[in-house]
Amino acid sequence: MEEDDHLSKPTTTTDPSDSALQRKHAAMIERLSNLHQSRSTRKPESESNSTSSFLSRFSESKNSIESTLSRIRQTPDPHSNPTLKPELDNVSLSISNLEKLVAENSFSLPSYEVRTCLKTVADLKQIVEQVACDVIPKKKFSFKNKSTKKTTTQNDDLGVRVLDNNSQNVESRDLGFKVLDSPGFRGNENEVLVKEFNNRGSDEEIREFVLSDLRGCEVRLMGNIRALFVNKLIDCKVYVGPVFGSVLIDEAKDCVFMMASHQIRIHQAKMCDFYLRVRSRPIIEDSNGVRFAPYCLKYDGIEKDLEEANLGEETGNWSNVDDFKWLRAVQSPNWSILPENERLGAVDISTRDAKISC
């Protein structure tokens, strides 16, 4: 706007300072045009400079990757050459560096260049994979082989080992370290299994406990535990004090469970009764014929243990069961509420012979 005013002034006025004004005006025009010129020439230049320098860096490293790959591919007898694997690792490392370079420059690059570069990177990755497959074809197979070996040794363990409630070192499936197996009752038949967690005197830390492969047993766990894993129980009665974390049940048949916990997950249970106190909603999955009732366990000091585990109050959640195999609004056919006249009365497990009053 100002410039227009200046332009129009000389033609209409005959001021004595006319020539001075004109000089000033001319100088300004020149300055502006210089500025304009420098802007229009310099900027694209600098941008295209950075683009082309990026592109040359990109193609340089791309070429070096490609030449390495083709060298690897032409190696005679690739299977017996141990240096190839680290070399391939190096190649994929430099590809990810290349990818990073593109990402860092993506702001200043034209979108076409970004796309083609990313495409190139993706192609390179594919080639590497291809070469890796050709050169080291046994890799995937060895992994499978290892895992099958593991499961067989594990099965042997299950068949032979009968663990008592003391923890025990178990050589763990060629992993190169020993797994200290969780404490628990495993593989017992027709026994009464009692364990008191004496955490009140804190001479034993609160920890996890396992009940696995039991048949016809009665299990009594008193005191607080952190987590409980139950696996493969048939015809058992399981009475459990407060579990501060979660209970996980897999495969139970014809059992009675009485437990208090923050979370309870029940998988593959058939014809079982659960007397529960839960902070959250219990869930069942792949189960049927399971019935639910409120918790009614008694032993000396249970009230205090329940308080401590934040399970002092009945939440009513024992009947809010979610069935993951029945995601509909109507009641699932897999579970029901245990009719009151069929429920056990309070079960007291602090005496040697469990008194079940009716």
């Binding site: 690792d89 994929s92 702001f107 797994v179 969780s182 952190r226 974390g245 923050h262 997950r265 979610d322």
Partner: protein, 185 residues
């Protein structure tokens, strides 16, 4: 000149990351998300479906998708793969019996092409439990070294119950995603 700076500003503003939390049931995914968001973790039901949390973390906005891990709903995980920047795999380090399942599901997941560019954080959760395996041991059991070497991954021991290790893990994840996606400031 003006346009470029506007575009830059928009891109800075949208520092969003999409993070997918997966893992077997009972591994503690929901507890981790709630704990990191400073919420009450004392009553959490097993996740039937999924939860979404939007959390501002450092200068980024994290959209965390916490998907239920029960067997029945694992097949729905793939509905959440699209556009995932970061994958968080949560392991119950005290559940020794199901570590084989855990490894199988993880390697199955990593075959997914839509997740091939995502950074992978493995939380070896429940380290507060006495019998839990250490992160190094979990890494061996899960055979993490056998992963494709273009994958960015890290394993971090944590306890969603005490909160230990959660920030270490998320710090790494967010930094790793940021260096991949956004220009380094």
């Amino acid at each position: 000149m003006g346009l470029l700076s506007i575009i830059r500003k928009i891109k800075r503003k949208e520092k969003e990351m999409r993070i997918l939390m997966v893992g077997l049931d009972n591994s503690g995914k929901t507890t981790i998300v709630l704990k990191i968001n400073g919420e009450d973790t004392s009553v959490i039901s097993p996740t039937l479906g999924f939860n979404i949390k939007t959390i501002t973390y450092q200068k980024y906005t994290l959209n965390i998708w916490d998907v239920g891990g029960q067997k029945t709903i694992r097949s729905y995980w793939r509905n959440y793969f699209e556009q995932t920047d970061g994958l968080v795999w949560v392991v119950d380090s005290s559940d020794l019996r199901r570590l084989d399942d855990c490894r199988y599901e993880l390697h199955n997941l990593l075959k997914e092409e839509r997740l091939s560019g995502a950074s992978l954080l493995i939380f070896a959760n429940k380290q507060d439990i006495q019998g839990a395996l250490s992160p190094d041991e979990i890494a061996k059991v899960l055979n993490l070294e056998a992963m494709d070497n273009s994958r960015h991954w890290r394993i971090v021991g944590c306890s969603a119950y005490t909160g230990d290790g959660l920030l270490d893990g998320f710090d790494w994840l967010v930094q790793d995603i940021a260096s991949r996606i956004y220009m380094l400031d």
